[in-house]
């Protein structure tokens, strides 16, 4: 992937997405430069997941353009998997491969997609397991781990592919409160290392300390976009104010 700091790594231009006659995304435009961290928030059903799923083409958009590293995502893109492996994704429900040990979870795509040999894949896997602080769990199965540990494994699994971009879809929403911080800590570390990130989350502490920009989505639109300071202290839009008052009082 070729990038300079001036061309955006991710570019969405007037993206529309329909599910049948229901419009889930309405003219979404967004640019993310290398190393930027974007936090996306908004009420349930506002299209946050749909937007980031379009970015790695788990959903295909119906209008507008999406460019990843300058390459447009279209039906004609031959090697969509080549683009996909540059974009790591972490899901709310972890989605580890239940029938494989943790280390195998981390090695599989390296071997199959990146064509890396087994010893090297294992080494990379152990490197990232250490980074998320659970190298001792390598030979266990996902069910044997706590939710927080599973989510850290899921992050490590995505990192093993050496992606340019990491997408997070509510990575802490399915976790018990005491496990949220261990996952956020890993994500903060990743941000410090300069990873380009789009994070859907309602963890406002994380947004404040990590985000370069915060987006607020509602009913398929990006309603407000600002740096965290401005976003939290002086939101302009009424819908943003209402949303913030709701989540901040909880």
């Amino acid at each position: 992937m070729t990038n300079t700091d001036t061309t955006p790594l991710i570019q969405l231009q007037n993206v529309n997405k329909f599910f049948g006659s229901f419009q889930a995304l309405k003219n979404i435009s967004l640019e993310v430069r290398k190393g930027e961290k974007i936090v996306v928030c908004g009420p349930s059903g506002s299209g946050k997941s749909t937007m980031i799923r379009c970015i790695n083409r788990l959903e295909s958009h119906n209008g507008g353009h999406i460019f990843i590293g300058g390459k447009e995502l279209t039906d004609q893109v031959k090697d969509i998997n080549a683009i996909r492996r540059e974009v790591g994704m972490v899901f709310q429900s972890f989605n580890l491969f239940p029938h494989m040990t943790i280390i195998k979870n981390l090695m599989l795509a390296q071997q199959l997609v990146r064509k890396i040999n087994k010893p090297e894949a294992r080494e990379t896997a152990m490197h990232y397991l250490e980074r998320v602080k659970i190298p001792d769990q390598a030979d266990k199965y996902p069910v044997q781990l706590s939710g927080g540990q599973q989510q850290r494994v899921a992050i490590a699994r995505a990192l093993c592919m050496k992606p340019e971009i990491m997408l997070f879809d509510e990575p802490t929403s399915a976790l018990d409160p005491e496990m949220i911080s261990e996952v956020l800590e890993v994500m903060t570390g990743l941000a410090k290392d300069g990873m380009t990130m789009i994070v859907v989350t309602h963890e406002m502490g994380f947004a404040r300390s990590v985000a370069d920009r915060v987006l607020f989505m509602d009913e398929g639109e990006i309603v407000e976009e600002a740096d965290p300071e401005t976003f939290f202290k002086h939101p302009k839009n009424e819908r943003t104010k209402k949303f913030l008052s709701q989540i901040l009082t909880h």
Binding site: N56, L58, N81, A82, R84, R85, V87, G88, M89, F91, S93, N95, L96, F97, P98, H99, M100, L108, A109, L112, V113, K140, Y141, P142, V143, Q144, A154, R157, A158, M161
Partner: protein, 229 residues
């Protein structure tokens, strides 16, 4: 009436002579049927109507008719066609054994294909999406994620089908095969003691059912070690 135990003890060893044939029918049909089931499953999952549609018709026909009738059609009906008699399959279809294996394989293939499809549909969508997001191709996803998970999910239903198949092998005796049931019928014809003989036969089948169930139970526990490690 009185129950003659000596008939039981005399007849069981004789019937066990047919156990080899019962097992041959069972294992051959199970293996051929499983291969057929996978082919039918892939045809249905292909998303192409010209593959999916014939597979569905096949499954519908074989699930919708009794095995006994299928055996009769294959053994008595197919030889009516000259094309069948001229084909390379004739040496197999001419024999009752070949006909029985064919009928049992086609039948179990149709059922097992549906069982496997249930397993495939039971695989968590989120896990498949994660594989896709990591860049795995459709084929890689099927081989490394869907197939192993679906296999585990299908074991309980498959073990039931295997037991049904074991019991269905007894129908082969209707086309002159001397499996355990075939032998039992000749003993009954000589001794006029259907009660003792058939109860002995039933007990043998029950013991086999018990063993098969235990074996599959073990297999399932082995395959589920990641669910209950």
């Amino acid at each position: 009436m009185n129950f003659d135990f000596s008939l039981v003890t005399d007849s069981i060893p004789k019937m066990l002579v047919g156990v080899g044939l019962t097992f041959q029918l069972m294992f051959l049909s199970a293996i051929i049927g499983l291969v057929l089931a996978v082919v039918l499953l892939l045809m249905r999952l292909s998303g192409k109507w010209y593959l999916g549609w014939p597979a569905q018709v096949f499954i519908y026909v074989f699930r919708g008719t009794p095995i006994l009738v299928q055996i009769f059609i294959i053994y008595y009906g197919l030889p009516q066609f000259e094309a069948v008699r001229d084909s390379i399959f004739w040496p197999i279809l001419r024999e009752p054994f070949g006909s029985a294996v064919l009928a049992l394989s086609l039948n179990t293939g149709a059922y097992v294909s549906e069982i496997l499809r249930g397993g495939v549909l039971g695989v968590d969508r989120g896990v498949l999406e994660a594989a896709k997001a990591l860049g795995l191709s459709a084929r890689q996803k099927f081989i490394y994620i869907t197939a192993p998970i679906a296999t585990r999910l299908a074991i309980p239903a498959y073990s039931n089908d295997f037991i049904s198949l074991m019991k269905a092998t007894s129908l082969a005796s209707t086309i002159t095969l001397m499996d355990m049931t075939g032998i039992a019928r000749t003993i009954v014809a000589k001794t006029f003691a259907p009660y003792e003989i058939f109860i002995s036969l039933a007990i043998i089948y029950m013991i086999f059912t018990f063993i098969i169930q235990k074996a599959f139970g073990r297999f399932e526990r082995y395959m589920s070690k990641y669910v209950n490690p």
